[in-house]
Structures are given as C-alpha cells and as structure tokens.
Symmetry: C2
Subunit: 336 residues, 2 copies
DNA sequence: ATAATTATAGAAAACCTTTTCTATAAAAGG
DNA sequence: CCTTTTATAGAAAAGGTTTTCTATAATTAT
C-alpha cells in the first residue's frame, strides 16, 4: 500500500558503485576518490536517500538516540530543561525519547526497560524516584551512560548534574528568618530527593537559628508536578492557614505549590506578602504571571539541560567534558 | 566495557529450542506446545530477555514508535495534548519521539526527515507550519499514517483531528459584541492555520454584525508559543493600548498572549474587565493562575490527544476507528 | 497396519547498514 | 622495467529479529 523508502542498494545500483563505497561516502570516515564521491552524492540526492537509522543501530554502532525521563511535562520546569537538552542534541544529530513518568514508580521502571530495548545510547533522568527505581538505574548505568539531574548520589556508575538545591533552600530560609519570620510553613511533595533535601535544609537552618521545628507546619501533598498540584496545594494550605493562624511565611518546594498557596491566601483575604510571605522554587515563567508576582529560587533549567546533554554526548563519544556539575541557584524576590 | 544485552539466541540456547520457536512464544502468533512455551518462558525470565526493537523494526514490521511534532513545549497546551497521546500509546506499547520545532520551518522539515529515517510507524503533527512544510507532509503521508491536529486540510492522504476553532472564535466575538464592545482588538502570531482561521472568523463576525474591521486593531507577534510570547504580547499591547485609547476588548489567539495583554493592562492601570475585556484561547491551567483569572476558549487538549492517538493506532493496525474528528470548544468566562 | 493429515518445531532468508578483509589498479622506488 | 607500496573499491560477515518454507513426529482416517 505504502511507497518503499530507497535503500543504500538503490544508490549503489544507480551510481554503479558498491554498497561499501556508498556507505563510505555517507559516513566520510574512509578515503573515496573525489570523482566517485560526486557521482554517488548525485545518486543520493536524486533518490533522496537517507540511511535507515535502525539498521545503523543494529550493527552495534550508535542509534543516535537517548532517553529523557521526566516526572511530568505539566510543570514548565521540565519544558525548559528539555529545551536545553534538545538544543545540544540537535547539534549532534541525536533524537530523544521523552518519557513522562507521571511521578509513578511503575511507569518509570517500564520506561527504563523500554529505553534499553530500544538501544538508546544513553539516558538522562530528571528528579527520578531513586528510592524505588534506584536499582534499575544502577543496573543500566553499567551498560550505557546515565545522567541523573537533581537526584540522589546513590548510583555508583551514574553521572550527576544538579543545581545547588541546598544552597538555594538555605538562602530562602535565611532570608525569611532575617525578615523576622518565626512560623515558617514548609510545603513539599512525595518522597523524592528534590523534596527530601529541601526539608533537610529547612530543619537544619531553623535549628541553627534557634527556632524549634514545628512538625505541624510541614505539609505534604501527593505529587508535585501535575496540573492538579496547584489545587491540591491550595486545599492543603487553606486547611493549614485556618488551623494555624500565626503562620507568616511559606517555603514551597516548587512554583506550582507556591501558586496554590497564593491562591489559598487570596481566598482567605490575607495580604501577600504583608500577612503571608511565599517563596517558591524553580523560578519558572509562572512566577511573573501571578498577581502579585511570585518570589522563587532560580535554577536555570536551560543550563541544567545543556550541561547534562553536553556531558552525555562526551560520555557517548568517549571524549572528556570539563564542565561544572553543580550549578548555582539564586533567590529572586518579587512581590510575594 | 559495557555488558551485552541478552539476545534471542541466548534464550534459544538455554531453553534448548530454536530461535524460531522462541520468537513464536514471544509474539504468540503461532501455535507452540504448552510445555515448550513454559520452558522457553522460564529461560526468558531467567535471562531477563526482551527483544531488540531495532531488529524487530528492521525486518519491516512495526517499530512501535511514532513521531509527535509540536511547535513548542513551553505552552502547556501542548503538554496536555501530549499527555493525552501518551496515555493511549502506553496502552499500545508505543513510544514517541517528541520533536519541538520552536516554530521554525527548517527545523520542522529536519524533524520530519529524521522521523522517516527512524522508520516511525506514523506521525502526529500539531498545528504545523503547513504553508511551508505542506509538501513534506503530503509526501510522507503516502508512506505512513499522518495525523494533523488543528491544521489545514491541504494534504490529501493526511488525516485530521481538530477542535472546532471556528465555532470557538465565533463564540468569543459574538459574546463580546453582545456585551456592547465595538473596538475589539485581535492578537495573533505568525502565519499558521490556527491563527489564520481565527482572524478569518474575527473579520467575518465583525462584518456580520455590521462593525467595520479596523486593520490597526489587528496585532501580530512573531511567534506564539514560547516563553517570550508573554512579554512580546505585553509590549505589543502596551503600544496598541496607548495609541488607541478607545479599545475596550481583546481576542487573543492563545492564553500566553492573553496573559501578556493582561500584564499590559495592569501596567497601564486599566481596570480589567471593566475597562478592558480579555479573552484568550486554549483554556490552559494558566487561566486560573492569573489575577484576575482569565477567560478563554476550552479546547480539551487531552481529548484532542487521545482522539488522534487512537486514530493513528487504528490506521497503523488497519482497523477502523469510529470517532469524531472535530471536537467541541466552549467559551469559559472567568474574571477578564 | 498403512496412508493421510495435523501439530509442532527447525532452517534459512530477509530487513539495511557498517566494517573488516581482500583485491585490483595506480604510483613510487630501485 | 620490475617490485613494492599506496589508493581505491568490492565482497562478505555481522547485528537480532520475524516469517516463510520445510521437516519430523504424532494423530487420525481407512
């Protein structure tokens, strides 16, 4: 029913040269006489031929494919990150399988095995559920390059790229405490590194500053990166703010949660930031869309993406990459 | 350096049966004696074998891969759409190459040829630049199923899934005019179908209602789906609102543009919606995050995604799909 | 009991490349 | 002018599957 794509055999036949020679022209890795190169190139153009990447991958060479595993595409954090990765991949003729786990362990595992079956040349996983999928990454990191962004350093052969979440979180807490806040709530998602590390810093800084950690000020929602995160955060914060009227500030683990909290505050007719200061994390574009605009910690997602992509390219091509693997964060104070 | 993945040969050797029989167990499309099936399955499990999808694809069968071409991932419209597609793909053991064109013709063409070389089983393209890439789609639609979402019906062998953008746009204009607005601005992006059709309706409805179309009220920004869209729209609207102080309403082609316009109005201390009514398009989650919340036209992106994915699955598997290809839209009036 | 059928499983071709090995022709060296 | 080297290009193997064709064993029919 459908038209067949031209193969290297067609080019060979038309040009009058052998398959091998055509292949050499295609890859340019062996010497070919200029005149034959021209003839073959003409045939290639005429037939509009381009090599079958599956066959190329099959012979054991590279598939020019990597896998990107993200928790969700519904948080612009990941969109910007992917944009950074994509830019580098394009330059290297790579294409990505973008796999969204919807923050589901089982799905993440399924994606990993799928990517292996598809012989990707490497995997970049962003904020993975390492608690549960750790052994999977451990395993595949022995057979291909694996880069973990903003994840836990538990996998021996994995490579890591992270923004300095500890520093970012510390800045938030220090800023709030310096402003005189004592009752600072903390809003986080489920059990992954990105939230755990922030909670750890939250506890540490409070303690350092002599503020007792009040467990009832720590709120947790089920997932952190879906469209429903905003609403779930709002509900959670509505409840919390009604119960504990002396809360004056919130550190939210990402911007979606922060927006939810802001919506809750508005509904309760609280003045933001006078009655209630809110600081989010990631500094996604959403921060400048809300009214008042949202304070947040900038992670430079695009750079995070570019860095990890460059790193995985050099791992695949076995060249050395000399670049930072821990990127700076910066507290951006806006109107909340 | 890296560990080699087990192949069907390993399974055959371990189980004592031939490669063919293992393949038959794997695919379940030919009869195999129960007892041997059990033995082979044991070997498969023991070796943790799963078939190499490249090899599978190479023999001409399916690659279980489709390509998704989107203008951007930085508009949540596309995120939600992909989510819908993904859900269906997962059920069918398909994986997608998600290709973002950044609204660039050349890149879109590059993606298309790349997808063909990778032997995808089909392509879903969302809001493509058909003006310029049309012939590409025309071409590949003869060799594989192609679905165009919210695009122009210019490709003979392509299949189309769209939300009823005409009806949605008409509703907006009729609503605004019924409210008494006469000076209605229109904000659009570059030359693609999604914006062209809305402009067409804008002109038609105004005319029908006896309002003369004022060309200077039609504003155009360079691209419509990137992070910079908000700011570019804001600048454009600032200029327009300053020049033409009698504008009382705006129909923006998507939510990002509408947010930009809202920001402009706020900066000019205009009361929204009293002085200036804004209606966007797509009804992305952003609409409920702004203050005041944004009115918009709902497109049900997820359904759009699910529908096109189901359609392409039935095209690939040559089964018939009986479903709507034009989905309803609905005007959602919020606070702008 | 023998012939004809059916159930089951193996052998080999095909899919499209890359790459190693081999062969030829041209150039260089003596 | 003959031998050795070099430049160039072809032949063939390999990569891991699916599938068609073939072969054997088991069953059924006569």
């Amino acid at each position: 029913m459908f038209i067949k794509k031209k193969t290297i055999v067609d080019v060979a036949r038309l040009s009058g040269f052998s398959i091998s020679t055509v292949s050499r022209v295609l890859n340019g890795n062996y010497p070919v006489k200029h005149s034959t190169k021209v003839i073959i190139q003409e045939a290639i153009d005429l037939l509009n031929f381009s090599p079958n990447i599956l066959a190329r991958g099959l012979i054991g060479a590279k598939t020019f494919t990597i896998g990107i595993i993200v928790p969700s595409l519904e948080n612009l954090f990941f969109s910007e990150l992917i944009r950074g990765i994509d830019d580098v991949l394009l330059d290297n003729n790579y294409t990505a399988f973008i796999c969204s786990t919807n923050e589901d362990d089982l799905l993440e595992k399924k994606h990993i095995t799928n990517l292996v079956d598809r012989k990707v040349d490497g995997i970049i996983s962003i904020s993975p559920n390492t608690m549960s999928t750790g052994s999977y990454y451990e395993n595949i990191s022995r057979s291909m390059p694996v880069i973990i962004i903003n994840g836990e350093h538990e996998c021996e052969d994995c490579h890591f790229v992270s923004s300095d979440q500890e520093a970012g979180a510390a800045q938030v807490l220090e800023y709030l405490i310096a402003e005189g806040h004592q009752k600072i709530a903390f809003l986080r998602g489920h059990d992954i590194y990105a939230y755990n590390i922030k909670e750890k810093i939250y506890r540490r800084i409070l303690q350092e500053k002599g503020i007792e950690v009040d467990e009832s000020l720590i709120a947790r929602i089920s997932a952190g990166n879906s469209l429903s995160t905003v609403d779930e955060s709002k509900e959670k914060m509505l409840k919390l703010l009604k119960e504990r009227k002396n809360i004056t500030a919130l550190f939210a683990c990402n911007d979606l949660m922060a927006v939810g909290a802001l919506n809750a505050a508005v509904q309760l007719n609280m003045k933001v930031p006078e009655d209630f200061r809110i600081i989010g994390f990631d500094n996604t574009i959403i921060c400048s869309l809300t009214q008042p605009t949202l304070s947040s910690v900038d992670q430079s997602m695009k750079l995070l993406g570019v860095t990890s992509a460059k790193k995985i390219m050099s791992l695949i091509n076995e060249t050395t990459y000399l670049g930072e693997s821990i990127l700076e964060t910066a507290l951006i104070i806006r109107k909340t």
